[in-house]
Point group: C2
Chain length 226, copies 2
C-alpha cells in the first residue's frame, strides 16, 4: 500500500489543479483514492449514471461520447494522461454528462467525491483550478457547437485536422480511422472519406499508409473559414 501510495503521490504532479498541492495534501488524497484500469474499448462509465467521484487519467486515452438511439456516436472530447474527468457531476451532484470509453488500455485514478470537495473548501486555489478546467471545457464545447451548426463537413474536417495535428513543422500527422474521425465530426465514415479526398485533390493534405499528413496549413485555414 505504501508503495502504491508513493506512486500515486507522484502521479498527481502531472494533473492540472492537483499538481500544486503540498506533499501532505497529495498523500492524503492518494490515501483516499484507488487505481482502476480499463482495456481498450471498455466503458469506464456511462452517461446518466450517478457519479461517486473524479477520474484522473494516469496513462492511456479516453473519449467522452454521447450516443443516439440509432447507435450513432458523437465524441464530445478526448483526453490523455493528466486529464481529469467528471468534475461536472462531482460538483453538481447529477449523473455523468457523457459516457467514457477507453481508446487504449488505460489506467485511471479514482478520487472520491468528498475528498475533492473537502479539498476545494480547504484550498481556494484548487477550486480555482477546477474552474479553469471547466472554463476550458465550455470553450471547447462552444467551438464544437459552432462547428456543427455553422460549418459544412469539409470545413469541419479542416478545423479538426488543424487543431488535432500539432503545428510543429512537418510533424507526425494523424493516425485515426475514418470511423473515429467521423465520430469526432458528428457524421459517418463515407462523407469523411469524400471530404478527405477533396482536401487531397486540393493538395492540402496527404495520405501515407494510414497516416494523414498536413501539406498546406494556410490552405486548410482558408477552407476552415468557410
Amino acid at each position: 500500500m505504501t508503495k502504491v501510495t508513493a506512486e500515486l503521490v507522484r502521479a498527481f504532479t502531472g494533473v492540472g489543479y492537483l499538481a500544486g498541492l503540498p506533499p501532505a495534501e497529495r498523500a492524503g488524497l492518494a490515501a483516499r483514492s484507488a487505481v482502476r484500469t480499463a482495456a481498450r474499448g471498455q466503458t469506464i462509465y456511462a452517461e446518466g449514471e450517478p457519479a461517486a467521484g473524479l477520474f484522473v487519467v494516469l496513462d492511456g486515452r479516453v473519449k467522452l461520447v454521447r450516443r443516439s438511439a440509432q447507435g450513432r456516436e458523437q465524441v464530445l472530447h478526448a483526453e490523455g494522461s493528466g486529464a481529469t474527468l467528471a468534475e461536472v457531476p462531482v460538483f453538481d451532484g447529477g449523473g455523468y454528462v457523457a459516457s467514457a470509453v477507453a481508446l487504449e488500455d488505460t489506467r485511471l485514478l479514482f478520487v472520491p467525491r468528498e475528498a475533492l470537495l473537502d479539498l476545494c473548501r480547504r484550498r481556494p486555489d484548487v477550486a480555482l483550478g477546477v474552474i479553469a478546467t471547466l472554463a476550458g471545457r465550455v470553450r471547447r464545447f462552444a467551438a464544437l457547437i459552432e462547428d456543427l451548426s455553422l460549418r459544412d463537413l469539409t470545413a469541419r474536417l479542416a478545423v479538426f485536422l488543424l487543431t488535432e495535428i500539432p503545428p510543429g513543422r512537418d510533424g507526425g500527422g494523424l493516425r485515426m480511422t475514418g470511423d473515429e474521425i467521423a465520430a469526432r465530426l458528428g457524421t459517418v465514415r463515407e462523407p469523411v472519406s469524400r471530404a478527405l479526398s477533396r482536401l487531397r485533390r486540393l493538395g492540402l493534405v496527404e495520405r501515407a499508409r494510414g497516416l494523414i499528413v498536413v501539406r498546406d496549413r494556410r490552405g486548410l485555414s482558408a477552407i476552415a473559414r468557410h
Copy 2:
C-alpha cells in the same frame, strides 16, 4: 451613490452564488461594481474581446451567440434576470466565448474581474458556486451538441419546445418568431416553419396568434426521442 449601492446590494440576493454572501461582502462588491444598460438588439460584448469582468443580468434578457462568416447565427444559450455572464473569460483570462446581445431592454451589473477573484479566494463557497454555474453550462452545451449532431430538425424542435415551455399545465405557451427559434436550433426560418407545421398536423402543438402552445407533451417526447 449610497442609494444606488443600496439597490445593488439588494440585487445580489437574486444571483446564484452571490446570494449567500453576508451583507458586508455584498456592499463591498456593490461598491466596486457599475450598472450598465443595453437596448433591445444591442451588443453588450463581442466574441473574442478581452473581458474585464463579470456581468449580472438585473432585468431583461440576453442571448449568447456565435455567428458564421455568412451571417448565420447560433444561440448558445439565453439568460434572464439573476443570471451571470462571462465567468469563463474572467477566470481563464481569455476573450469572451460568444457575443452577448440584449433580447429586450436590459440592465446589467458589471463586476470587475479582480473583485470576483478576490471573493473566490476569500470564500470557498463562492468558488463552489461558480463551479456549479459552469457545470450547468457544460451540461447544457453537451445537450446542444447531441441535438445538433444526432437529432433531426423536428426532434430538435420538439426538445426545444418541451424545455422552453414550462411543464406547468396549460401554461402560457411560447412567443418567439421563426427566426428566433431557428437561431436556437441552428437552422433558418423555413425549415422551422415546416417542422412546426408537421407537429401541428400531428396535433402535438397549436398556433394561436403568434403564440405556440403545447397540446401533447408525451407525443412531443416521443418525437424528441426520434
